[in-house]
Symmetry: C3
Subunit: 263 residues, 3 copies
């Protein structure tokens, strides 16, 4: 038996909005430790990993580890029926073929239960090695979202260059080119700041299309963290209150010149 009660139900709604455009069907892994998901996007280019730790739930019970395959479009349809102030409880029997989402309004005068059919989904679990990254950028998540969207109107890819002074986002397209630089900002009067931790400068190029999908997680957290090392996938992380995270991984584009130089 699995049962998890989340007082701040809107978090679960936002989590789903952050992954449903990237992944259609996915297995959620429930264990004593929490509620997790790892999935490739449908074009098998990027990876999303979600963790909601057990201690973030008001009540959490998972008698034995279980995997629940869900269509995220349908799950999203149901979660959209929860009010933003509702308490959400997820329930499933060990051998059942449905998961139940219960929504309770704050005044307890409206109680809804939505039963979603489970699916069998093939999936392989990738091990993600713990890595020291050459550069870590923390910046306002809304700023990162705005930059990815703005550059998409000019080009298809973005080159991100991190130095100790700031992070530069560049693109080129048919109509011209664009550079946006965010400087390290440690003024105290701004709540969300751009902070850079650097082992060595890094420059990587990514497809904007995927970064734009990742920024669907913006409502989850005021800050986004980018971790980058040469030739490694970037990790784009949004923390979920005190209970977990959504992380996205995307491999950099290999430039022809670089390939030539390294051959």
């Amino acid at each position: 038996m699995f049962e998890a009660r989340l007082v701040q139900g809107s978090l679960l709604k936002k989590v789903l909005e952050s992954i449903k455009d990237l992944v259609t069907d996915a297995n959620f892994d429930c264990s004593q430790n929490g509620f997790a998901l790892q999935a490739m996007d449908s074009s098998h280019v990027s990876l999303v990993a979600l963790l909601l730790r057990n201690d973030g739930f008001e009540h959490y019970r998972c008698d034995r580890p279980m995997t629940m395959g869900m269509n995220l479009t349908n799950m999203s349809k149901m979660l959209k029926c929860a009010g933003n102030d509702d308490i959400i409880t997820m329930k499933a029997d060990d051998a059942g073929d449905v998961v139940t989402f219960m929504f309770e309004s704050p005044e307890q005068d409206k109680i809804s239960d939505f039963e979603l059919k489970l699916m069998d989904i093939d999936s392989e679990h990738l091990g993600i090695p713990d890595t020291e990254y050459a550069a870590t950028v923390k910046m306002p998540s809304a700023e990162f979202q705005r930059i990815c969207r703005d550059l998409s109107s000019i080009g298809d890819t973005v080159t991100i260059s991190v130095s100790k002074d700031g992070v530069k986002f560049s693109t080129t397209g048919d109509i011209g080119q664009a550079n946006i630089t965010c400087r390290q900002n440690t003024s105290v009067d701004k709540e969300e700041q751009t902070v850079i931790e650097l082992q060595e400068p890094v420059t990587l190029t990514f497809a904007l299309r995927y970064l734009n999908s990742f920024t669907k997680a913006t409502p989850l957290a005021p800050t986004v963290q980018l971790q980058m090392s040469k030739e490694l996938p970037v990790v784009v992380q949004y923390l979920i209150a005190d209970m977990g995270y959504v992380r996205y991984y995307l491999a950099p584009k290999i430039e022809d010149e670089e390939t030539a130089g390294e051959a």
Copy 2:
């Protein structure tokens, strides 16, 4: 001669929004008592009835009963040109082929008159018998709208069950099923409450598509009233300030099982 002046002109705009998706062409019946309409929706499944009583108008004059056939899409185009604070006056000559809508801005510095061509429309007037209903539910109109919209994302029909404790809305679809229960709520601190008057419990099933059309009347009133009896059409009523109502009638779906049981 017909002439009716409505200081709160936005009411007439909202009335039209509440019926124009359901009915394309309709006859308005003007009499000494007021301004009324009764019409089947274009698929002849549901019925809408509107009444604006003469005493709700600042000025009301109707020398002899007259019927004005209007295309509601065109009427809506004209009423959308009225400001929300405008005073609206309707005028028509006894033998004329147009109706004039006059809009006056509150400061009287903008005066508009819109002349709509009238049409000949065949219509029959249905007698609606006064009935004692087994169950009457009053609930916040925004809540009813939300429930109908939410359930439409899961299924096509809704089963409404009224008991003394509350009203339950249920649906089933390909992706799963859903139940939403609103409990009777008599706490004093909420303005809009769910109140149930019950002769006997009732359970009826309706096409969500029509209920969703009915909820276009939500801006007219904070409360909606559902009246239900076994095998009878539900009456969904929105009161219009102190001057009348919009009522919708929709026959329940007959389940195969019920039919079999009753045969």
Copy 3:
């Protein structure tokens, strides 16, 4: 070398929104006096003229007159990437083939530069004679926008009649007709007023489609000015703070009757 720094960068964004639907490619004329544009719309029916005087910029330098041909759709894509509080600087070399837009956030923690490719565009500069107009109407720009939009739902053309009491906008269509009259309004408590200066009454008819395009300039100014004389194009003018204007010229439609009467 051309360089112009505009502290209120949002003005330039609004200017572009006000002309980009009417004109696709256009030459901007930079001189010591300011930054200007004159262009026919793509159907060669209306004319738009823009002026931003040098003294409206915080910094302005133009070593020699130059013409920069830009695709306004692409220019708009870039300017949309500027924040509403950003400072915008335009830069171009005398013999260059690009113009650079630099955006600085108020806190100087985000600096963007966007480079737009220039184009060669054929254009002829029309002389617009200074004229005394028979009627000048100043009215709230939002009101004028609303009237043009509202009348478009009824008909294709608008007849504007100016008398000393007010200005009347009329249209006729398949579904009926409409007249909207704005009275001269000199009450002190309203900020935006309708004020009429009249040599002689004027009545002219225009295509609503173009007037609706002109009202894209509404965010630029609280007041619009219409100048009209018999058989002459109307001038629709929006002032840009203290630094210039956007003006639109549109020839009146010649009615068959009028033509006959004047032949």
